[in-house]
Structures are given as structure tokens and as C-alpha cells.
Amino acid sequence: MTDAVTFERVTFAYPGAGDAVLSDVSFEVPEGSFVLVAGATGAGKSTLLRAMNGLVPHFSGGRFRGVVRVGGTDTRAVAPRELSHEVAFVPQDPGASFVVDRVEDELAYAMENLAFDRNRMRRRIEETLDLLDLAHLRDRSVRTISGGERQRVAIAAALTPGPRLLLLDEPTSQLDPQGAENVLAALQRLVHDLGMTVLIAEHRLERVAGFVDLALGIAAGNVTTGSPQDVLERVGLGPPVARLGRLLEWKPLPLTVRDARRHAADSPPDLSPPTKRHRSFRGGELMAARLLRAGYGPKVVLHGIDLEIARGESVVLVGRNGAGKTTLLRCMAGLHPPLSGRVLFETEPPRPGTDVALCPQRPESVLFRETVQEEITTTLEWKQRTGDPAELIAYFGLPAAILQVHPRDLSAGQRQLIAIAAVAATGARVLALDEPSRGLDAESKRHLVSFLERYVSDDRAVIVATHDVELAALIAHRVVMLAGGEIVAQGSPEGVLGDSPVFAPQTARVFGPRWLTPDQVAEAVAR
């Protein structure tokens, strides 16, 4: 078998940066493999992918040594466009990569540049629209479709010219669990049936671990290759089932629910009943939405929502793409005027930024100062509060050295945490977070969870909208499931998530709906 990508002694550092992101890296990826690129937040996964189509170093600049070959071509010898028939790349923020306005034209763009004839373009566009279930969006503008839809359009636009190598940077971060499953299954089919090579950088390992057959692990500038089990073991990462496997000493380490269930059936662990986190918050209502209807123009997104938030409570909103989670958050924060019904904080409409603070999906719209430190002190000054930025970011597991860094120089995951910290510095009684776990590895996610626990312990409340069911299982006192702008279920995470075929976290799939997180299993084992 020939190799799709080879790295020969590659060293790379960004301009002005002292430390190399990649240091003396050599590996090859055989053609026709489905590869996971794993590494902690900020380890250099995006850099590695971008080195494979020449964006690093052609667009990034910086110090680059060694040779990267894609399909036999040295990426440094030619411009990225000369590789475009061979490699396609889907960046982290799909919105930023769109060149044209209409979905169908966006799918045609790369083929036009490659001078495909019209009949071939038409056929490929139809096939790809079907493959990723986008046919109903073909005439829509890429600016007005939802985040999850954009992600699928970006993948489709990369696929149409039929690349031999496809690079995806966190392609499922804005997709609901079912949507992610569908996209990954479609990609797997291309790998199996057409021998395409796919590399996918992803933090939500529970979604991808079952699909991939090879992994690249990045840690401290070094890259290791091998089976997903070996690599994840080496970089100390893994989906929740891998953590269960380590706790219960299952060998070989399970990466999928199926493997874990086999282990659990073969050697049932002796577990005392799980501790319940669900508490009753009766009587302590902090804010509420009553018969809330809201929408954009003629489109009504929320149809009569009734939702109470109690003091000290963490409420998680789940639901498929377009269910109305973001709109509900915006209404609760007092940003979006309801069509009818109302939102009350205690007895008044909420004051944005004072009663309710919200961290939006794109952390970039929050960050504007020169350093992380200023970013946080700015919020503190606005709210005339005192506080120590170093202490605040320490809650998120970030080193004090990061205080002097420009927020835009951070990795996507670190930016996300800084944006949350800057918003949380308002000390608002209700903190609302829209998809906060984008770009976060398991470790940073744990820090986020413990920060939110501290936040609500002070009689404040947290509302989180997310597609990340593992995060929901970690933080929710109550889960609210939205569908078509209505609340279809709400209650304890065990009750709402535990036995859902789509939303159940991995631990529940292995041990049953009463078990939500590996932490509960760890406690039960220790007892």
C-alpha cells in the first residue's frame, strides 16, 4: 500500500513563537485509512492538519524544516492550490471558509476551479447533497443556515471534487449526536468504498473512536502513530468508556460502547448503587420564562416555553440542531424580545450583563483586549467588582503565564475558556453558556465542570445549551430537552438522558440509566 501522507523530520514553529509546535516529526499515513488526530487542547492538531495541504507554512509563515509529502508531492514546492485536486480541508470555523453565497454554488466552487465539465459537476453535487442529507438546503444562503448545517455544507463542499485526502478540524463540534453519527458514517463509507484517506481532529472522542482505524497522537511537539487504543493510552486521552476500562482494569482497553458492554458482561464489576446528584430546588425560583414565544421575522422558533430556574441549579438544554436552544438562551438573557409571554428575573425582566451574563458560541465576539489579564479586568471594571484574574483562570486549569498572552494567539479551546472566564467575571446571578465545550479536551472540560459547580454553590444558577451529552451528564441538575421549539421532556439527567437512544452518555449505555459518568463508577468502586 502506498502512503497518502508522509512527514520526514518536520520541525515547525509559528513566527515569533519560541517553542516549536512540531519538533522533528516523522510518520506516514497509509492510503485508505480513517485516522483520528488526538491531543490535548492547544497541542497542535490544527497545525498538523494544515501542514498537510501546505497552508502551513505557505500562509502561516514561521520556521519550517523537513519535508511533508502528499500523494508524492512536496507541499513546500507548490502552492496549496496546486494540491487542491488531491487534498481538501475543512477548517474549525466552517463559516469562515465559505466563498460564495448559495449552498449549491458553494459545492460547485472547488470543481469550477479544477475545470470539471458541467455534467460531472451536476452529478457530483447531487450525490454529495444526498450523502450528507443537504438536498433541502441547496438554494439557501450559507449565511442564514444554522451552525450544524454549515458544518455539513463545508464538508460537502470539500467532498465534491473527489479528493484522495480529506482533512477535518473538529467537524462535529456543532452537530447534534445523531447528526454527527450520520456524517461520520458517510465518511466511513467513502473510506471503505472509495479508498479515500480521512484525517479527523476531534475532542469528542466518544463520537469518533468507533469509526477510526488509526490514530496520530500529538503531545509536546511529538507525534506518535498506531492503533487508536495505543495512541490514546500514550497521550492520556480517551472516551468515557476508556476511562471506565482503566478504572475496572479491562484489557484490551474498550473504545466503543459495544466493547465496554462485552467487558461488563464477561466480568461484571461489583458496584454499590450510584450517588445521585439530583437535588430538589423547590421554592427557590430565581428566574422563569412563562408561555414564551419568540422568533426571527415571520419564523417562530419557540412555541410557548415554560421554564423555571432555581437558585443553585445547573440546567442543561439539549436537542437537535435548530431546536431553539440558542434562541431560548438569548431570551433568558434579555437579548431577544419575546413575541408573547415573558421572561422574569425574580420579578423584573432580566437586565443583560447584570442579572444574566451569556457567553455566545463564538468566543471571538467577546474577546477584544491585548492580553488575557486585561480581558478579565475589563469585565471587573465594568461591573465595578474586584477580583484576581490569576485566581479566576486557575479555576479553569490555565497557567498564570497565559495572562500575558494575546487572546487571539490561543488555541480554540483556550479562547473558549478565556471567553467564559471573562463573562463569568460579571458575577451575574445567572450564567448562560452556549455550546461551551467546543475545542475542550477531557481535562479542560473537568475544570469547566468544577468551575460551574463553584459558581452555583453561591446561590447562583447556570444554564448551558450543548450537544455534548457527556458534558450534560457531568453538570446537569436538570436536563431540558427541546424539539421544534417546545419542551418535550425535563427532569433529572438520569430520567431524561439515561435511557435515550440518542442522548444517553456512554456510561449509561454500559451500566444502565442510573449511571451517568465515569466519576460515579470511580466512587462506587472505591467504596
Binding site: A88, D101, L335, V366, E381
Partner: protein
């Protein structure tokens, strides 16, 4: 747009609005039209305000200087209104596709510039909201960097991301094909002929001095109105009565 004749300006402004109302597209473009109208109003006010500063320079304010300022302001306002209409009804990529291949690069630049206004407006809305829910309610001018800096930085990042994306997707490799066939139908023919006629009439009027394109100032008097020019100005509204393009493939 060399006229300051208020009658023509009103007709042209109304025509632009008709086109906008008939063909506006959803999304940030909608807002971009309103913002251009605002810019127009501001330009008109600013031009008039300049005259009020005349006493500082020991120049007397006369009726005719105020009228000149008002009409010149109105001209700028109508021009911005027309540009706003163009911006909100046209898809920059359509321009790219319909232009001759030789002009690909310059039209691409023009297309990207056209898409800048709606993009920036969307970012401004997003950032303003994000800063508001983070507590930016202090004195407005002090919160200004919180709005301007992320908008500029996001704009820069988006521009770089777009350039990267275009290169990575093979832009500028050489020969390229086109996915959509844009056939010349009756509508586009009518539009091109109408615009040529409008241009021709105005050029003729400017060259011969007929039809009172500009307003006589000393002494100040109502300008005449030529039916030919009113018709020509109204012809700008023709696209409003044509059906939207059904895209052929």
C-alpha cells in the same frame, strides 16, 4: 449622478427603493440597505451643517448656499441609496459568474468588497450583543473599543481565512469552468438596454445642457423638468418589475 435637480433625485430614490422592495434577499443584506440609508441621511445632514459653519469664515449664509448644500447632500444620499440597493439585491458571486473570464480577478475583488458590508454588519450585531451580555453598559464611548476591536479583528481573521480557503480550494489554478449557465433572457436584455438608454440620455443632457440637470443658483429658481429625463430616471426601477432570476443550470 451629476444631477442636483430635486425632481430627478426623488424619482431615482423612489426607483431604487422599488427595486429593493421587489428583490431584497433575507439575511444581513436586509440590514445593510437600512444602514446605507442612514449613511445617506448623515451625509446630507453633514453637508448642510458645513454651510452653517460659514459665519466662522465670515461668509454670509444665503438661501442659495443652503439650497446648494441641501441638494448636494441629497445627491450623495441618493447615490448611497442606489449603492445600498445594489448591495442588498445582488449576490456578489452572481457578478463573478456573469462577468467575462478575463475580468475574473478584478470582479472577484469587487465581489469580495461588496460582501464586506453585510458581513461587517453581521459581525457588529454579534459583537455588540456579546459585549452587552458581558456587562458593557458603562459610558458608551468607553465601551467603544469593545465593539470596534473585535469587529476589526474578526474582519481580518475572516479575510485571511477566506484567502486560505480560496487557495486551498484551487482558486487561480488557471482554466476554470462554470457550474451555472447564465442564459440571456428577455429580462436581462431589457435591463441592459434600459441602463444603456438611461446612461445615454443623461450624457446627452449633460452635454447639451438641456433638461436642467443642475439647479441654477444665481438667481435661485425652480429647475425645469424634462419628461425625457424623468422617464430615464424612472427606468432605473425596471428591474423591480422583472421576475427574480430562476437559476438555469
Amino acid at each position: 449622478m451629476s444631477t442636483t435637480n430635486p425632481f430627478y433625485l426623488i424619482v431615482i430614490g423612489a426607483a431604487a427603493w422599488l427595486v429593493y422592495a421587489a428583490h431584497r434577499r433575507p439575511g444581513p443584506q436586509l440590514r445593510s440597505f437600512r444602514i446605507f440609508i442612514w449613511f445617506g441621511a448623515i451625509a446630507m445632514a453633514a453637508r448642510t451643517a458645513l454651510v452653517l459653519l460659514n459665519p466662522v469664515l465670515h461668509i454670509a449664509i444665503t438661501t442659495s448656499s443652503v439650497v446648494v448644500a441641501l441638494l448636494e447632500g441629497a445627491r450623495i444620499a441618493v447615490l448611497l441609496c442606489v449603492f445600498g440597493t445594489f448591495n442588498s439585491v445582488s449576490d456578489p458571486y452572481d457578478l463573478l459568474r456573469l462577468s467575462p473570464r478575463r475580468l475574473y480577478e478584478p470582479v472577484l475583488a469587487a465581489g469580495l468588497a461588496l460582501s464586506l458590508a453585510p458581513r461587517t454588519i453581521a459581525t457588529v450585531a454579534e459583537v455588540r450583543e456579546a459585549q452587552r451580555v458581558r456587562g458593557a453598559n458603562a459610558a458608551r464611548w468607553r465601551a467603544l473599543p469593545a465593539l470596534v476591536v473585535p469587529v476589526l479583528e474578526t474582519g481580518m481573521e475572516e479575510a485571511v481565512a477566506l484567502a486560505e480557503s480560496m487557495d486551498a480550494r484551487g482558486h487561480g489554478r488557471g482554466r476554470r469552468t462554470s457550474y451555472r449557465v447564465s442564459s440571456w433572457d428577455l429580462g436581462s436584455g431589457t435591463m441592459v438596454i434600459a441602463s444603456l438608454l438611461v446612461l445615454g440620455t443623461i450624457a446627452w443632457s449633460a452635454a447639451t445642457g438641456r433638461g436642467d440637470l443642475s439647479v441654477a443658483m444665481s438667481p435661485l429658481q425652480w429647475p425645469g423638468v424634462s419628461p425625457v429625463l424623468v422617464t430615464a430616471s424612472a427606468a432605473i426601477a425596471i428591474p423591480a418589475f422583472l421576475p427574480g432570476r430562476e437559476e438555469g443550470r
